[in-house]
């Protein structure tokens, strides 16, 4: 496979990760076709919205202080938080995109989904309980524990807002495309609905409402996906071998119909059972794997969830449940992808006559829902897919608002002397501002190729937030200057390398193929190294008075991070 083709593959997969609506091979988000208006789906979605608005009303009565707003008062249990983390993490893109990737490439889709799972143990072993013991509202509380507050908070707020912005744009554009496909409504309507609802959830219900929206969405998504996977497996007598055999047979038939010789067709059909074009270049593979694995440990909206539980034990339980549900979910999407091969690719009602799926490649799971559960279940799955985006954007907005109100306003501008009411007011104003900005960006980016945005968000999280967090918690000699300089180096290098990589330089900015300076799919291998080396080197050379103070503070920080003695507890309720 040539380099251009290989880049196309990566692009395609990144596109799946972003919007869940891009065509598997092209990575162009403009391809979502508007479908006839689907009233079943719209009514089911309306029921979900009304229900979540009632929850928001209930949550609003309990959201009085800044602690309630940021962390639901710290009274969420580990099991609930695990579901909420899963709800925050399993996006519509994973559901529609990965099942479509499995339908297209079989085993390759599995390789892709594994990347999104393997970061969770690392979060558990190195960060979860330490985060809970040291922090209060945001991950900056942890990173800045023994350092000079102002510079670290400015860095952490930058890291948070940049990651949130890219993730948010991807979700907004995805929502707009999805609503054209699933509900048959206009793009801008979807963007405005998502923006308005997320504003209401966060503004009035804060973390309590956000958490329950995420929990409900996680249950609906896991329930719907379980039903689909069971319906597929029942048809094969619960024998994976029978399912695989049928899928290979169908893929072989499609290749034969396309004019392949019997041998070549059989080979192509069997190719879904092993790795294909997903990984050609080991550097890209490792770099992308690093972005996903360590990016998970640096996503601000995920890290924030660890402050909603009362203690380290519940923090650990949260990650265990989150990992379990997310792992289970990826097993289901794999079965759903194979189900789509056997039920959707064989049914002309779902095909456009040219061998493609009606509505685009990422409709695999949606068509399968109709095939196994009829029109009502199709409406259900469509509504769940849209609800999924809502839950994710609510978590992102809350995290962005906290960075502005807690890190910038309360700590940097008010030097920690802001009262809770004023801080709460600033977070609400920021929520409104973020909602409006997200809607405007969503509309502005409608026709843009934004395939790179989610992988960029993960790469920045892995290169800036993660190194600063890990080094400040675990390395005694880390200093304020080291963390800030290294963190910004990681942030800027991941941004710069992404801009000159094929997915932005060629696919988004329209430069000729092969002109990108940085040939790999993800910058994380290089930019994360730059971040860590930057922190290490600058800290080592830092001989200022502040550096001595930073190092002297390590012992007290370590004792608290290991034992939780003195940690911020649950605030009543």
């Amino acid at each position: 496979m040539s380099r251009a083709l290989r880049a196309g593959w990566w692009l395609g997969l990144a596109a799946l990760a972003v919007a869940g609506v891009a065509h598997a091979a092209g990575g162009d988000l403009g391809q979502a076709e508007k479908q006839p208006t689907n009233w079943t789906a719209i009514i089911m979605f309306a029921v979900f919205v009304i229900f979540t608005l009632f929850i928001t009303k209930w949550a609003a009565a309990r959201t009085k202080s800044a602690a309630d707003f940021y962390t639901a008062g710290g009274g969420i249990t580990g099991f609930q938080n695990g579901l909420a983390i899963a709800g925050d993490y399993m996006s519509a893109a994973s559901f529609l995109g990965i099942s479509a990737a499995v339908m297209t490439g079989g085993f390759d889709g599995l390789i892709y989904s594994i990347g999104f799972l393997v970061g969770w143990p690392v979060v558990t072993f190195l960060l979860a309980e330490r985060l809970r013991n040291l922090g209060k509202f945001t991950f900056a509380d942890v990173a800045a524990f023994r350092f000079d507050q102002t510079p670290i908070r400015v860095f952490a707020a930058s890291g948070t807002l940049v990651v949130v912005a890219f993730y948010l744009i991807a979700q907004m554009v995805g929502a707009g495309q999805l609503i054209k496909l699933l509900f048959g409504l206009e793009y801008w309507i979807a963007v405005v609905i998502v923006g308005a609802l997320m504003m209401i959830y966060v503004l009035f219900g804060g973390m309590t409402a956000t958490t329950w929206v995420q929990i409900i969405k996680a249950c609906l998504l896991l329930g719907g996906a379980t039903f689909m996977a069971l319906m597929v497996l029942v048809n094969f007598g619960f024998s994976p071998e029978a399912m695989f055999a049928k899928a290979v047979e169908i893929k072989t038939g499609i290749a034969t119909a396309a004019g392949k010789a019997p041998d070549a067709a059989a080979k192509e059909g069997f190719s879904i059972m092993g790795p294909g074009g997903f990984i050609k270049d080991p550097i890209s593979a490792i770099s992308f794997g690093i972005a996903l694995m360590f990016g998970t440990a640096g996503l601000p909206h995920i890290l924030m969830r660890f402050f909603t539980v009362p203690n380290a034990k519940e923090a650990r339980k949260s990650v265990f449940w989150a990992t379990t549900w997310i792992g289970y979910f990826y097993l289901l999407t794999f079965i759903i992808g194979f189900g789509a091969i056997t039920f959707v690719l064989t049914n002309s009602a779902f095909l456009d006559g040219k061998g493609g799926l009606l509505g685009g490649g990422n409709m695999a799971a949606v068509h399968l829902a109709a095939a196994v559960g009829g029109n009502v279940f199709l409406g259900f799955i469509s509504a769940v897919a849209f609800a999924t985006i809502l839950a994710v954007v609510a978590g992102l907005t809350l995290s962005g608002a906290s960075a502005v109100s807690h890190d910038l306003y309360a700590t940097v501008f008010k030097h920690g002397k802001a009262d809770s009411t004023a801080e709460l007011k600033v977070s609400r104003m920021t929520t409104v501002a973020l909602g409006i900005i997200a809607v405007l960006l969503g509309i502005a980016f409608e026709k843009q190729n934004i395939a790179f945005m989610v992988s960029l968000a993960f790469a920045i999280a892995a290169s800036a937030n993660f190194p600063v967090l890990l080094m400040s918690v675990l390395w005694k000699d880390c200093t304020t200057k080291g963390a800030v300089v290294g963190g910004f180096l990681g942030l800027l290098s991941s941004l710069a390398l992404t801009i000159v990589s094929p997915s932005v330089w060629e696919a988004t900015l329209g430069n000729p193929k092969g002109s990108a300076l940085f040939p790999y799919a993800s910058p994380a291998l290089f930019s994360m190294t730059i971040g860590f080396v930057g922190i290490w080197l600058v800290s080592l050379l830092d001989r200022g008075g502040r550096a001595t103070q930073d190092r002297a503070g390590f012992l007290a920080q370590q004792v608290r991070s290991e034992t939780g003695i003195g940690a911020a507890g649950a605030s009543g309720h």
Binding site: F107, P121, A556, T563
Partner: protein
């Protein structure tokens, strides 16, 4: 936390034991996870033929149980850490806290 309290806890041999045990266990499992995941990626990058081998008479390949195995391993290794930490490490932490605050 007051500096002398931190000093006192840090000198407690039980705290030292907790720190050493958790750190060794956490890093060991982290390395294990890295080896399993990047081992899998390396297998995909350099030995596709191995993963595409048929297991038996049918179409199921060696890659399928390995891929599923990585997912199950990820969940299990997380569970193993959480189980030990919630029992052993938390018990130690409680003793340290009790001795520090008495």
């Amino acid at each position: 936390m007051e500096a002398d309290l931190a000093q006192r806890i840090a000198r407690n041999p039980k705290y030292q034991e907790l720190k050493a045990k958790r750190s060794a266990f956490g890093w060991m499992l982290t390395v294990l996870m890295l080896v399993v995941y990047y081992g899998f990626i390396m297998l995909v990058a350099f030995n596709k033929a191995f993963l595409s081998q048929r297991l038996g008479e049918g179409v199921t390949t060696v890659g399928m149980p390995i891929g599923f195995g990585v997912i199950v391993f990820t969940v299990l290794i997380t569970g193993i850490y959480v189980r030990r930490a919630n029992k052993e490490f938390d018990a130690l932490t409680e003793e340290v806290a009790k001795e520090a605050l008495k």
